[in-house]
Amino acid sequence: MHSFGYRLNGLLTFAVTILALMCAITSLSDNFNTPSPSAEIKIMNINWFQKQPQGHDEVSLTMNVSADLQSLFTWNTKQVFIFVAAEYETRKNSLNQVSLWDAIIPAKEHAKFWIHTSNKYRFVDQGNNLRGKKFNLTLHWHVMPKTGKMFADKIVLTGYSLPEEYR
């Protein structure tokens, strides 16, 4: 009962259990954080709006994104992944979500920012439904912890629309 093997086994189990417990408590401490993020997105320009050779509508736009996400960071936060998605519906699809831009915020100091950018990813519809289309822009964030449970949420900004004609 007191051989080296048994002692090592007992020690290892105990160590791993304590470690797992500490990670769980660390993760639980994130629940005490009540975040109050804010964001604003302005579409500065519709650069072009075309029907692609394969037949799908595509838009290129430039937008201004400003946000304050500092309240999302806790001591257990490794990074916050954010992205802006356009959400709209069409006759065939009840929901379309297309990610236009994303970024990684590695620390609280970088979480209050302002960026002027064109869409990083192509805004392509599955059909030709984008003319005159009203859409929402959502800023999503995904809090990735150093250990434990990940939190995700979003802010929905409504009231955007695309031009009636291709240009």
Partner: protein, 135 residues
């Protein structure tokens, strides 16, 4: 003791999360710096619809499942089936080139679970565990 408690936890997780592989090990660096090789991810699979931003594990008939983020969702009105596009955070391009049999989109049936939590570095332990022919 280590092995039996690990087994209990593993089987318990399968039951709680409702997924056949409730834990996966991150094998590539395509989701860095969020997830590094050797991290383990806790998965959950419920009937909630797949939405952009979720980190999903999918296997469309390849050797190893891939853990990437959903960047596009097109959900059909009538069938509620959805066309999904994924991309690794650290990759410059989306996964379209990776999908098997020249699919342009992923379907929900290929998705094994959503990542809801993670533990760093412990993945190396899981690799050792799954090598033992207990389960």
């Amino acid at each position: 003791m280590v092995i039996s408690s690990a087994l209990i936890i593993w089987k318990g997780l399968i039951y709680i999360t409702g997924s056949e592989s409730p834990v996966v090990v991150v094998l590539s660096g395509s989701m860095e710096p969020g997830f590094k090789r050797g991290d383990i991810l806790f998965l959950n699979m419920n009937k909630d619809p797949i939405r952009a931003g979720q980190i999903v594990v999918f296997n469309d008939g390849r050797d190893v499942p891939i853990v990437h983020r959903v960047i596009e969702v097109h959900e059909q009105r009538d069938s509620k089936e959805a066309d999904i596009l994924t991309k690794g955070d650290a990759n410059p391009h989306d996964d379209r080139m990776l999908y098997t049999s020249s699919n342009r989109w992923l379907q929900r049936k290929y998705i094994m679970g959503r990542a809801v939590g993670f533990l760093p570095y412990v993945g190396w332990l899981t690799i050792i565990m799954t090598d033992k022919p207990i389960i």
